[in-house]
């Protein structure tokens, strides 16, 4: 009972502020609504007993990535009063496509509840104590089974860091 109250609370915040983020004209407002969405998602992670992801979502997304976004929005001059939606027809096409994809995926999820034994809408969660010391389990998996992907991710981050510096660097002669 309490579980579903927490879920609906955070899910409502996430969806409403995501919708606001896509529709606000001012880029800073969009960024702040995206931060609200990310925080609500972090709450859903906590409700799913993923403590480490909860805290890394807040530190990495809200504390790192979104600060970067807000820096760039501040650096780039955006106070020109231009219409933010590209065109009327494009908006309707986007809504139509989103509706079609949403209907399709929704019908699939809805039908999947009838799959015998492993339906998606029946509450057959693994016992709550199976994932209990979460950060410990995560570390074991990350540095054991998934060591190679972990190292590849570190190479990816290095490449992205060098790439970002090269991109944003001022060309002295070109």
């Amino acid at each position: 009972m309490l579980d579903s109250v927490i879920f609906y609370f955070f899910a409502g915040i996430a969806v409403v502020s995501a919708a606001l983020m896509v529709t606000r004209r001012n880029a800073i407002h969009s960024a702040i609504f995206l931060i609200t969405t990310l925080l609500a998602t972090a709450g859903i992670f906590l409700q799913l007993r993923a403590e480490f992801l909860f805290i890394s979502q807040i530190i990495l997304y809200v504390g790192g990535i979104m600060v970067l976004f807000i820096f760039v929005i501040m650096l780039v001059r955006l106070d020109v009063p231009l219409p933010q939606i590209r065109s009327r027809t494009q908006k309707w096409i986007a809504l139509l496509v989103a509706l079609a994809v949403g209907l399709e995926a929704g019908v699939v999820i809805w039908l999947a509840r009838k799959v015998p034994g492993q339906g998606l809408l029946i509450p057959n969660a693994a016992p709550a104590d199976k994932l209990q010391p979460n950060t410990e389990e995560l570390a074991k998996a990350l540095f054991g089974t998934y060591l190679l992907p972990f190292e590849i991710a570190s190479v990816l981050l290095l490449v992205a860091m060098v790439g970002a510096v090269v991109m944003a660097k001022k060309r002295t002669d070109a």
Binding site: A27, L53, A98, A125, L157, V165
Partner: protein, 99 residues
Amino acid sequence: MPIGHYLFLSLALFLIGAIGVITRRNVIIVLMSIELILNAVNINLVAFSRYFGDVAGQVFALFIIADAAAEAAVGLGIIIAFFRNRETVLADEMDLLKW
């Protein structure tokens, strides 16, 4: 909580992000919508991780967060470089390669 609820939440966030990518002119907001899409995927992964009692989904979600950070850094670097050259961040004015 049945897992279908998480899937529908993730679907909703994904679609809102997709609408943002298609309709917005400001490239920075397009990038933010992509972050929203990645985040929607993470909800799916963590929900399945909880429901199968397997930590692999959470590890994958961590990789996706790292990926999103890399994408944001490079993407914003490109936007800064482009703004320095063309004084705009609007998607329909980025037509250098169009003919």
